[in-house]
Symmetry: C2
């Protein structure tokens, strides 16, 4: 389908969740949105770094027709730092460009897309933004590990390891299932915390879900001696 | 691709999350899994009722080659009630059948597939089960409403309204974002609880996400006078 250039089209942006890694976990809507775009914005954590989101969608890009822009995440957490990203995107879209902004997993669940939306809305009120949800690493890891998260009246807490250990501790006391994201260098402390709760042997460690280097550890006690450090790792803890 | 019938193939089952409603939120992997199957098992809440999961995948079925079996959910919560479903599936697959079991949303997040897996594992240890994760109603509703769930160190609680109001209350006190699922007839009580927390004007009500009758209410205070009752409704509550 070719977009008509005759009518007075306005620029627009679609935030597309591309899933956690496996390119087959793209939705049909994500694929269509990517194909319909003129400009693909793909985030990277460091200037010059790889964009995992771009690698996930590589098979659906048309290099002859589409422009790809790698967008480094601002390093500071200050809201105004996204102002620069938003300005860059608006300039790249021009008067009638149609862009997609890719996010790993889902745009609204630790996907940073909310910050970009806020910055775009401030710079250009009424700017057209659509969101395509994606499969999150939470459910993808549960599927890969064959571990049920919730059933019936169960309650699920999703907690990043970047919060305090006390808050993880609270969640473990109160929820039937806790998923701890962005485990990184905190794995050793988290495993010891689980052990104190008597939950270590009910936990599963999943890193790089859906990537060739995916690793699933059903007996994470064996990681206590020399805990690996990986930002793209999570723990699923389910009370049995 | 045609499956070879020459080798000694064993029966197998793939649990497929089909997303919350919009057929475009099927993943490429879900579509492939459905196309490769001989038998499609589609759940319904009541014998003789419709299967929403089947309606979502209807465009990808091949009536000439595939068999569709509607499977009513057991009404009792007792674990052994899934034994009958598991026996039915094993009989339908026979010696080398390849089936998919559809679940709305994601199989491991309130998808009931864990119960079926447990029953199959008891009846036939070593039976081959794969799981294809799906987009959940949680992130799909957030996308449809344009509401960010979490960012940075935020923590998310996912709580079914079928639990006690006290547990919803606890989650509201402690989490930056709470998604209350299966709102149903409890909407009035939940809205009043949110009001007591000063969170009612920060909540969004979403029902039938991705279906033609989808409804998004950004000012749920107006529902207080005559709260609708819909099982397939949720509330997103985000502290600002």
């Amino acid at each position: 389908m070719t977009r008509s250039r005759v009518g007075a089209e306005l620029p627009r942006l679609v935030g597309v969740g591309v899933g956690p890694g496996d390119p087959e976990l793209l939705t049909l809507k994500a694929v269509r949105s990517i194909r319909e775009a003129d400009v693909i914005f793909a985030p990277t954590r460091r200037a010059g770094g790889r964009s995992m989101a771009l690698e996930i969608v590589a098979a659906h890009l048309d290099a002859g027709r589409q422009r790809v822009e790698i967008v480094p995440f601002p390093e500071s957490r200050a809201g105004e730092t996204w102002d620069g990203v938003a300005r860059h995107i608006l300039a790249a879209l021009g008067d009638d460009g149609h862009g997609v902004f890719l996010t790993e997993g889902d745009p609204m669940l630790f996907g940073s897309f909310g910050r970009l939306m806020a910055a775009l809305g401030t710079l250009r009120p009424g700017f057209s933004i659509e969101i395509v949800p994606g499969v999150s690493s939470v459910t993808a890891a549960a599927a890969a590990a064959g571990v049920e998260l919730t059933d019936y009246d169960d309650r699920l807490a999703i907690v990043p390891a970047t919060t305090t250990l006390a808050e993880v501790d609270d969640a473990l006391r109160q929820f039937s299932c806790v998923v701890i994201l962005k485990v990184g260098a905190g794995l050793g402390d988290l495993l010891r915390l689980l052990d104190r709760h008597g939950l270590l042997d009910q936990a599963v460690y999943v890193r790089r879900c859906g990537w060739p280097e995916q690793e699933i550890v059903h007996e994470p006690r064996r990681l206590l001696a020399d805990p690996p450090s990986d930002y793209f790792a999570l723990l699923i803890v389910r009370r049995r």
